[in-house]
């Protein structure tokens, strides 16, 4: 019972933190993208447009809720909530500092992959439930994409698991802290594994250059074509949560999480997470997107075999020489 309270309390804390980070993240993204495009970005709402995300959310919540006549009402309504649960739920096992963790599961990595993988379901529910052809095409693409990129994601995540010999994310971080990750962390399996993880994470959270499921120039808005108001907000939010939690996961698995000198753990974790988060948006506003077949080819003919090879290299590292 105590654990239930602990989970709920920390869950509320972490969820609030994530959501407010996202609100500021949206502001930052718009400002950053604006500067990259030599625009000003938001300036009107609040000082330097800081209150823009809140204005956006209030606007979105006020919008009329329109459900298409031909839609499958159940799926259509359920999908947005599921999307938020699946993207936010991943954060349950991520340690933000040695003590701030909602649930220190011993199979944290599996939880992450499992809950993250469930994201396919709301996506398809939205696409199929809308009974819209653009949504259906988007959902089909999304499934093909997240299902395919699930494989390199698993393989990339396995590298730190093999190196540290632990399935718990806090265990992995603790192992990195013990072994001075920035000095000892083997470059050969570690860095390429991070690259694969980063690409797969971009694909899983539908970010450019892998955002073909909701390619707005082709599929109008992909799965969210028929969604308005609050339900659209949830999808929108889920996407950002997915990106932020993915960044946090990357920071924890590959960059030592809360480990770092001179400052408390939480600061390091936040710094690393936000760096990855900014990198994602920097990439997003710089690149064009792939086509579905190129995406699949990249995944199956490059990332998957490289992932397997990296796994074996890290296993060899553990078995024959390296650290223990």
């Amino acid at each position: 019972m105590n654990e239930l309270v602990h989970g709920a309390l920390y869950g509320t804390l972490i969820a609030t933190a994530i959501l407010s980070t996202i609100a500021m993240g949206i502001w930052f993204e718009r400002k950053f993208a604006g500067r990259m495009q030599q625009r000003l970005g938001p300036t009107i709402v609040g000082p330097a447009g800081l209150l823009q995300p809140f204005a956006d959310i209030i606007k979105l919540l006020q919008k009329e809720d329109i459900v298409p006549r031909d839609a499958d009402r159940g799926l259509f309504d359920l999908a947005p909530i599921l999307a938020v649960v699946c993207s936010l739920g991943v954060a349950a096992v991520i340690p933000f500092s040695p003590s701030i963790i909602a649930s220190d599961l011993d199979v944290g990595v599996l939880w992450v992959l499992g809950i993250g993988g469930l994201m396919v379901i709301p996506t398809f529910a939205a696409g199929w439930g809308s009974n819209n052809k653009f949504a259906l095409l988007g959902a089909m693409r999304a499934i093909a994409q997240s299902v395919s990129y699930g494989v390199p994601l698993v393989l990339a995540v396995l590298v730190p698991v093999v190196l540290s010999g632990s399935l718990s994310i806090s265990g992995i971080v603790a192992w990195q802290a013990q072994h001075h990750w920035f000095a000892v962390w083997p470059i050969v399996p570690g860095l390429p594994a991070f690259v694969i993880f980063f690409l797969a994470m971009l694909a899983e959270s539908n970010r450019i250059p892998f955002d073909i499921p909701e390619a707005e120039s082709e599929l109008v808005a992909g799965i969210t074509t028929e969604y308005t108001g609050a339900k659209f907000t949830l999808f929108y939010m889920a996407e950002y949560v997915h990106t932020l939690v993915g960044s946090a996961l990357g920071a924890a698995l590959f960059f030592g999480g809360w480990d770092g000198p001179f400052a408390p753990g939480l600061h390091w974790m936040v710094l690393k997470t936000l760096t990855l988060f900014v990198l994602i948006y920097w990439v997003r506003w710089s690149l064009l997107r792939f086509r579905a077949d190129q995406l699949m080819r990249l995944c199956w003919t490059w990332l998957t075999p490289i992932g397997v090879a990296l796994l074996l290299v890290s296993a060899a590292w553990v078995t024959f020489g390296g650290t223990n």
């Binding site: 919540l61 006020q62 739920g89 998957t304």
Partner: protein
């Protein structure tokens, strides 16, 4: 460790509440149209009348991808228990993993040669 699962599920509950709370807030805040037009509830298809429903038999290629996913992901799942015991088991576990991966990649090679992984 039972307890950690409880916390994790509590976290899921909180996440659900976030979603439901937002929808609830919207149901209070949102504008209700005075007049409803049947056109508003039409399925969007670029401003044209939609040509038929979108619930149809889809191209088989997607099922191939799904099959591959099941294949690779399930086999990758075997790596997880192996990863935790690798340190204790040592060389024998490594050789087992290499063999396993070799078999896996043989299947991958077959798929590549068959061009089953080509999207078009």
């Amino acid at each position: 460790m039972q307890s950690a699962w409880l916390s994790a599920f509590a976290f899921l509950l909180v996440s659900t509440l976030v979603g439901a709370g937002l929808l609830g807030a919207a149901s209070v805040l949102r504008v209700r149209a005075k007049y409803d037009s049947p056109l508003k509830h039409n399925t969007y298809e670029c401003g044209e009348e939609p040509a038929g429903m979108s619930w149809m038999q889809f191209h088989a290629r997607y099922y191939v991808v799904a099959l591959f996913f099941v294949l690779f992901d399930v086999e990758a799942a075997f790596f997880f228990p192996w990863a935790t015991v690798l340190r204790e088991e040592g060389t024998s576990a490594f050789i087992a993993a290499v063999t396993f991966a070799a078999v896996l990649m043989l299947g991958w090679l077959y798929a590549v040669r068959k061009e089953a992984l080509e999207w078009q």
